[in-house]
Symmetry: T
Subunit: 145 residues, 12 copies
């Protein structure tokens, strides 16, 4: 049976592509979904791609992943820096989780330097835009072998 | 067509007037809604007045504002001090946003001194109770001319 | 009429017992619900036992408690350390609130040392696992006399 | 007899309009004086409008206000962030004092985040340029009723 | 043979009941001793109840406990926040130790937020006055089974 | 020839006695002047007693003291906590300087804990109200022998 | 009956005069005792003068003072900066307590800047050597009238 | 002509594979060199792969890259956290630079959380071991198109 | 017409030469004035040399410079470290401003490490005594060409 | 006459060898006493070896050392990190004092990084277990020559 | 014999003029060398002008200076902020050392505010570009007379 | 075969004895080499004694030690406080490493309090001058048995 990975997107990522294209480019979240699907297929994996602006819903989805997916890729957006709840959820589900950010968070405001996700994730990829998701799929595929 | 402004109220503001009247007075959130409606009308503007205790729902509503409103007034309550997600949402929608607080947050506990909203808002009004909302409407009307 | 107490459980507590039993033991949240019901009955009290991963829903439930319960026991999980909204909700409802944690949060990571709940709660019990909830019921019963 | 309010302006505000108009606009301090006079008149109030670059002179003027004015609006400029003497003066005179800033100080350098004035003022208005003074007059009029 | 527990009380607790009754109530330390004795008896346990204002004497008593008691309840008072020596003593004796405070230390001055005891104790109970000792006995009894 | 001491009073001390008598008592600065004169006379000393709200004027007066006085008593009020200029002036004049405060500054807000004056003063007396000035005179007299 | 005051001296003060005379002078603690006795007599007061190197013993003596003395003067030496226990003891006994230091602690190492004693004392006198004790007696006499 | 990328490895990376294999695995730096060569070839790129324990030599090599390479991948090891010189060198050469770490530095000691490299790099990849270098090559290839 | 530069001297600099010659040497402020006049003449420039102990007067003088001078050299003394008002004045006048200090402020107390002036000045010269003023004149002459 | 050195041991060191042997080994404090005696004899010195859990008693013993010993070796245990009283005692007695720790305190919890003892001791030896005492004897013997 | 001064340049300064000319101008390090030679000649001094990217080599060169030069001018670039080794080297050689920076480091990132060099240098010149080196030569010549 | 130990000396230690003899004494690094050789011989060990001012060279030498020596003694000088690279090198080579400092670094500037070496070393010896090296040899010999 094909492996399935959950790709979670946090607050404001639904605006991608339609807002401030001069900053974030014209790639939409759906474009990313499609390229992820394609890249995952190369590794024989399926993707379950979701977005929510609510911290609690992201926690709920992480809980669901335990029994239905083999790994998680998460771009938690602003919750990356403030959510101990997401960190605890990741620690609880005992799946490999990879953290992705479109921008290089380490070159931005100081309050974006802390990542609660990173403390429990396998690793972090940031600064490469949409292609970062594909790189995460490769890393996850490699890890799941 | 009349301009429309979104007025958002964050956590615990639904309790206004019915709880601790000795501290917060007897003005209810609905009273504020009515006085806002009246003041906005003076500037030929309509108000869309909402309250939620959920951070993600406030983010959702800010996203909606982009295509249906010309400006936003937000009293984010406790999320003012903790929500980078709200800050990012405000930055994303590219509308003028004014921050209001009933109490003077700068004269309270230290953890209420930081406002993520203020970093991306047009300006801040605090300490004047319900009339602060009306002042914000004036400031927004002035800005939108 | 029997007194009723609200017992609130925050993010990730729904996983209790079914995840990482080597760390958190095999007691489930439902087991705790049952033992609370039994202990409360000894004091002639009923319990309303809930869990949510969403900060806003916990705030909503605290608001409801004002008119339907005589006291609250809360294990706010990760929101303990980050939620000023929950703190404000507790301060608003003017009910006795007792804070419980399964683990000894003071012996864990530094970011778990701060409790916004504790600033407005009657007291705190932590480190005793499921029995902490029963102890909280005793303390609340004693307080309500 | 008409109520009288003192409007104090701190260091560098005398330069307003004639310096860096691309940043601060072309409105001069005298323009603000005139619009304040007009707005105050609507509430049956007179304004006493002053500016000084010297901390001690601002303290002196606050002392005078006690017996000759019913309220104070203060834009203390840079002294906002460094002057405990002004804070103590405000606390001593027991008049309602409203803090105004032309720019949004919360979105500027970190050393401008602290306001000693705000700890003892009724409230704060910032980020709205010259119209902020008028809003302060409304707030003060409302408070004095 | 009956299990025996050591209950240690730190500096200033000898004044309990006879000083500032409006703050700390009229319960004396001896009252607490009696109620502890009674509650412990319910679990078939004896209590050895002591108080000292000297850090070194509390360390000495903890050392003694190793060979004569099965568990310790400690209200170290002010030494809670400053004594690494007590922390090391607790770590050395390898007995279950429960920390109790009459007041909710987390809602007091910032220098009372740190507890060296908590880093090595089984758990902490605070804010419930004298009944907190009884709760500690229950927790200890439960732990020792 | 009689020794002469300069007694300097900083910002807001001119209000003493006529403002907030419930906090600061009804003793005026002139009352203090009189009692200082009397106490100084016991030691065969004259006093030169001044007050200013302007930091620079206090610096000027300290400079003058070098050639006309044998010692200085200073209650720099709010400038105590912010004025490196006063500290440097005191260091420059090479006279014995004693720091006085009416209230116990160490039991007030954290920003009142720092005293630039204290780093270069002979000693500090605080918390004793007007009598603190008299004690300073005794200390200065003793030092000048 | 004559009023009696307790004068407490903390760690290392027993060495006064016999050690490092080039730093601390040749005045011994007994010399201070004598001059205190003399000065107190002027106000019709008796002194009970003690020294201990043990924190707990100083706490014990403070407790005793409640019923046998009308006020306390304390030079807690190094415990000034580290002892919350002494602070709590002072708060508990509800007597006027005056803090004295031989040297100007505010001009020494940073860890000597904090005084737990000062938070609950009437006031503080430091930097005047032995005469500071006499000044404290005057302040206490004045306060007790 | 084939594009050429410089891959720099900082202090202690020469030990890879031969030291602490239970921690870092048995992959040697040469193994990484080979897999990089292979992956780069897929994108028609050549790699220049170097290692040095000396900060200044790494700076020298970055300078050389300007005229001979189209991009840089750098695992600066411990210098990541301490070298402003490397950061300045990267900023000076105006080439795209990607930061790689074998381990997840965000889950390690606090002094490893700061990366001077990240402030000027395109992005960062960490936590994926040797495959992280290959991902960096993909990101660089994608960026250079 | 000859270029004119304003040379401002802040608090306590008037004492130069006549006080603590063993520390600051015997050069007086007037000596510096003369050597500045001479050096400026070499570049065909005139100097306007002033000193004040009052922050507000220094701000006033900076404002005047805009229309009458081509550049400013400022030794703000202690106000360097505390005056945001001076920093704002410098930013407002849009003239080249050079900061000078007689002593090496970076090798002194920590509170002298911060310079608000330096954030908006062209550059800083410190540690060279009176000759630093002459160097500043050279730098200003070079900048004004 | 043989030189005599005082070897002081602080809190919890009396438990050495009989507690947690897997951590601290089976060497008892008496074993260390014996090996110290032997090593000291090689240098013609006698040892006075003591242990106390009370800070004040350690201070007392240091005072005694002045007239009866030529040097001190101290393992102050937990008091190392909290006792300014011990630091002051060491500074007062003007004897060479060497600090010893069984474990490497610099590789333990952050609150063990500070040593008040080290600020006034000749030097520090830590991390070598019981042999560290012998090394201290050698260092002291060398210093006393 | 002519006096000789060593002028040291730290990391990345070799790139001057050929990189980012829009930021750093087109002046090369060799241009600076030539203008230094010329200016030094005016004072009858020779210059030994060097650059290295390696901290240790800069330390080596400072050591050499002791016996062959009369003074040092150092622009340590990024090592200014991180190298205690350079600071120790400067302190060891007991020559007058002047610190130069092309840019105004006090107006840049916070991590560039600290200068280990400044703690032991005669003085600092920054923000004047290449002419700063010439000013340093004047200051050094003046110092060496 | 004789055991061999590597003794590494960091920046500026080559100057020992020939520079500032009033501070560091007249013992040269070669003198220390000789006394180390002699002491090591007593334990049947040989010493390989080196010094470098370059961090990277010290890292290189630590790597070499793995296969040729049984233990390391390191006085890393200024790099002690700044080099994570040296710390990582020590951790990598899995040899016992002892840290030595001539002076008592804990009694010096605050930036010398942190030792990255100490986190991974067996133990630390500081403050005893040259004899500290010999003590380290004894400790290493004892550890290697």
């Amino acid at each position: 049976m094909a492996k399935s990975i959950l790709i979670l997107n946090g607050p404001n990522l639904n605006l991608l592509g339609s807002r401030q294209p001069e900053v974030y480019g014209t790639t939409t979240l759906d474009d990313i979904h499609q390229s992820c699907k394609k890249r995952a297929a190369e590794y024989g994996m399926e993707v379950d791609f979701r977005q929510s602006n609510t911290e609690g819903e992201l926690v709920d989805w992480l809980h669901e992943a335990k029994d239905s997916h083999q790994g998680v890729i998460i771009n938690a957006g602003a919750y990356t820096h403030t959510s101990i709840a997401l960190m605890d959820a990741i620690a609880s589900i005992e799946l490999p989780v990879i953290e992705v950010h479109l921008s290089n968070i380490h070159a931005r405001e100081e309050f974006r330097q802390n990542s609660y996700i990173a403390r429990v994730a396998l690793g972090q990829i940031c600064g490469f835009g949409a292609i970062g998701y594909e790189m995460a799929i490769e890393a996850l595929a490699s890890h799941l072998q």
